[in-house]
Symmetry: C2
Subunit: 660 residues, 2 copies
Amino acid sequence: MPRAVSDGGEEHEADVASWTSSHRRMDSAQHGHGYKVGFPPKKNLLTEFSDAVRETFFADDPLREYKDQPTSKKIWLGVQHAFPVLDWSRHYSLSKFKGDFISGLTIASLCIPQDIGYSKLANLPAEVGLYSSFVPPLIYAAMGSSRDIAIGPVAVVSLLLGTLLHNEIDPKTHPLEYKRLAFTATFFAGVTQAALGFFRLGFIIEFLSHAAIVGFMAGAAITIALQQLKGILGIVNFTKKSDIASVMRSVWGNVHHGWNWQTILIGVSFLAFLLVAKYIGKKNRKLFWIPAIAPLISVIISTFFVYITHAEKHGVAIVKNINKGINPPSASLIYFSGPYLATGFRIGVIAGMVGLTEAIAIGRTFAALKDYQIDGNKEMVALGTMNIVGSMTSCYIATGSFSRSAVNYMAGCKTAVSNVVMSIVVMLTLLLITPLFKYTPNAILASIIISAVLGLIDFESAYLIWKVDKLDFLACLGAFFGVIFASVEYGLLIAVAISLAKILLQVTRPRTALLGNLPRTTIYRNVEQYPDATKVPGLLIVRVDSAIYFTNSNYVKERILRWLRDEEEQQQDQKLPKTEFLIVELSPVIDIDTSGIHALEELLKTLEKRKIQLVLANPGSAVIEKLRAAKFTDMIGEDKIFLTVGDAVKNFAPKAVDNV
Amino acid sequence: MPRAVSDGGEEHEADVASWTSSHRRMDSAQHGHGYKVGFPPKKNLLTEFSDAVRETFFADDPLREYKDQPTSKKIWLGVQHAFPVLDWSRHYSLSKFKGDFISGLTIASLCIPQDIGYSKLANLPAEVGLYSSFVPPLIYAAMGSSRDIAIGPVAVVSLLLGTLLHNEIDPKTHPLEYKRLAFTATFFAGVTQAALGFFRLGFIIEFLSHAAIVGFMAGAAITIALQQLKGILGIVNFTKKSDIASVMRSVWGNVHHGWNWQTILIGVSFLAFLLVAKYIGKKNRKLFWIPAIAPLISVIISTFFVYITHAEKHGVAIVKNINKGINPPSASLIYFSGPYLATGFRIGVIAGMVGLTEAIAIGRTFAALKDYQIDGNKEMVALGTMNIVGSMTSCYIATGSFSRSAVNYMAGCKTAVSNVVMSIVVMLTLLLITPLFKYTPNAILASIIISAVLGLIDFESAYLIWKVDKLDFLACLGAFFGVIFASVEYGLLIAVAISLAKILLQVTRPRTALLGNLPRTTIYRNVEQYPDATKVPGLLIVRVDSAIYFTNSNYVKERILRWLRDEEEQQQDQKLPKTEFLIVELSPVIDIDTSGIHALEELLKTLEKRKIQLVLANPGSAVIEKLRAAKFTDMIGEDKIFLTVGDAVKNFAPKAVDNV
């Protein structure tokens, strides 16, 4: 099948096959199929526009099921769309429940100590963390479409929220205002999330590049771990800042009289225990439950230990009392007016976006593992609603937790019911046993947090990014150092900035390549990539490796002229024949806009002044359409547009290909 | 030459030729050339990085001439680089001077009345406009590299500056502070421009799309023209706002007692004269000088007329006195401290950028017409320096004027000397004849401005944009309406926002296409574009038309899955064989990043769950390199990566290609 491999070539040929009869003849002569270029059916403005809108906002075609259905059915589908539980609960079985029950218990045992710790990161009372693992998971279970995600407070968002809130209000002096602002932020975080989903703007979070996220997460993890030195070393007056410098200063500043050896003993020994458990879990996936329950066990043991030895009297900081009972209503606490409204909104938007990024990433990962689709926008509505309700029931921002979701998955969860189980356990905890946490030493929570966040440092990804793309790695580092040396929000800013800069760079500086002829063939290749490729005397062949848009049109034009200039300098040195034809290979040029066409026109003018003819090879169909619409095809002349570079060369430098 | 057309196909083949010996054999068998894929020579990190930096910031290779030159020569070249005049002045001849002299006089006659009018747009005294046509052109002549650009105040920047300044200070009540802020803004505009050029950040202005500029310019032109109704109708109390609504309100609000018929008579008649002159000039390019000198003539005639009839006593507003003498120093007036420092900086940056965009666009246009290179970054340094010096010599922001540059070009200017001639004429005007302008009626200036700015409305471009790309046209309209209904700065904001949104959209939503087989060939085509193309039973062939980056990786993955889902629904309806292989055609995929690879991995996992095999066709060399680095090639299996779609089909559905 000799023609199989000539696909690409013929493709572009067909695009321009109908150019001139001579071409068509050549075409037919060569392949015996009389196909001409098929122009996509001319759409009228409305369809063209609505198509663009659909692909942009409704790429996932959410209304698919609604097509040709009776109204009643449509309504029912709409309700199902909002509450997937109505759909999957119908095929729910006992076997599924077994899986959900086990995994629910497991993540509950994991989340209770984490929640208490994370609420400290957010400078909030311990019970608020637990509240946030009770209500939000229930809402999500009804509205969410991920089966594996574990909902609740997470380390990074807690830290971010804590930092941002602390910049506004001091939780020590004004605990109530602080709490109110926290709920306000949570409310607006929810509104942001829901709005993004509702208005189909989910793709906005795609603008945070993977590399930047990896760097940001790792930085946040280290920052959090360092902050836990407060708990582990039992330091009383610790810095409020989160950057590594100030943390280290207050660690060593207290080395002589600020450290408490009992606390250190407890903290370090249990940290060691947790890390060993983690290691075992990693070595043998079947034993995943060991690291999962290790935190709770250490909490119980240490609490009991402190209780009998009364270590708290020897300076071992303990949780003290956690309010008993479930979530009190907090709607009235939200600032819907006054100066804190704007602040709460700002903080909410930022923290909400970060939470969203984390949750969607988790949802997608596990959906891919179990092969079910996640509707990003629907997910956002669910997460948003859950946080809005949360903000009215004394919860702070909840989202999907990496570590707990992984445990949930490994424990064999089948549906969001595992979240329900977890939240029931948390509820019972709140109702019955919170007083028992009184003697839990903070050191334990610190070590639990440390062992948890270490999982956020993704060396593998970082190494992969390094191998695949060095500039990406730079973005990763930027976010990382931004977080640990400056602050979380600053690191986040860097991450976003780098991501956007990278996008803009991609579209401003496309690659171009000089093509040469592979001896004894009519194949033309990048001379850098193929050292044997030889230039054709009197011809210059350049390939543009990107769509030509207003962002790069001038660069492309000037880069091509630079290729030409360098070439001409060589020719003068080596007394080679002057360049008569500049062939621009357009195969990779997917699209072009008015600026791009304008640049081509300027290029044409410049070349005419220099008595050099511009020749185009392999314009794609979108490109040829627009070149025609702009009458550029008439300017350059249709006989200057060729099916392939080989054709053009054959036409203008016959000798060059005689040896084929 | 049957192989000529198989270029594209073989290209990709060669990319993966060395995959498996079987492939290589097939390859050789088909073409007899034993070429294998040439991987670009592995660069070490430093070179790779420095290359990226060079292409981004030094794409034009500015240090080229410096290569292997003695130090003294290098210094000399450096000085020349900063002052091109030293270079071109050496080959300057009398014949060139003739051209420059004529064109210099022409643009001088054009700029004097325009300057007086434009300074009114900026709410500045008339002489400041003339100052700005004296000093800046001299500086530019020494440092600039464009031969055709005419330097001086321009309508749009004057309006923008006037609006922005007016938001801060009222020129009526605080004329001095206003002037000082204007100079401060000019200073920082210059600093911005010079800095952008010096730090090679010139490409930043590329982010303003052509479409947005066309719309913005047209909107500004109409706004300016409307504001001139004040002068033409002789309205005394006119709105300060620039939006069409407020302007119309104050026009009709004054219709009964605000209008002055003598003024209207003068204004309208001379406007008619100017437009006729413009028309003649357009009809017969040889008569370009008629519209060029028409403004000065009408100024002279009308001034004389007013002087003898003493029309100013009948309510015809006149220029009154213009200070005699050349630019007084103003460095001491610039706010280098205090609250206005920040304001001046902000305004300067905005107005400076706009001025830059205009100047660079002009420079490029005429450089292309006469075939010489413009170094964008060098230009910016020249323009910046000229404005910095200007701000210290009582000038406000000067840049390249579209209308005057065109006249300059048509009048046969050869070098920047024409700017020198112009500035000398302006200087003489300032020294000798400014008093004569005392009786010049404002109505004339208004009609001159109107006839000048009408040239900024570029219907042709707008129509072209409409034909080529509807979404682009939408951007154009957005900027246009933003300016005329809201304000200049708001329109500018919209223009920038739309441009960026367009970039982001381009990278978020790439096109994908379903490919089918053209009967009796092994060519695979977009089934939408080629109705004859038929699907191969059991296969689904999808082509991705863009690089796969973090911005679109998830979309691409989910879009492909959607193609598959739609396909499977059809199969169920029509009882067709199930899809066993999903072939992804990667020819147009120029590059891929870690997120893209991650998306492919997720796609692979999902397909494995559905017992569908993923097959790749035509990966480019950059892509294959990264897929290898990320070990994805091992995950999918090298026998799943094919040279062309045709190959893949032959391999997996032999029957389908038997009929070839």
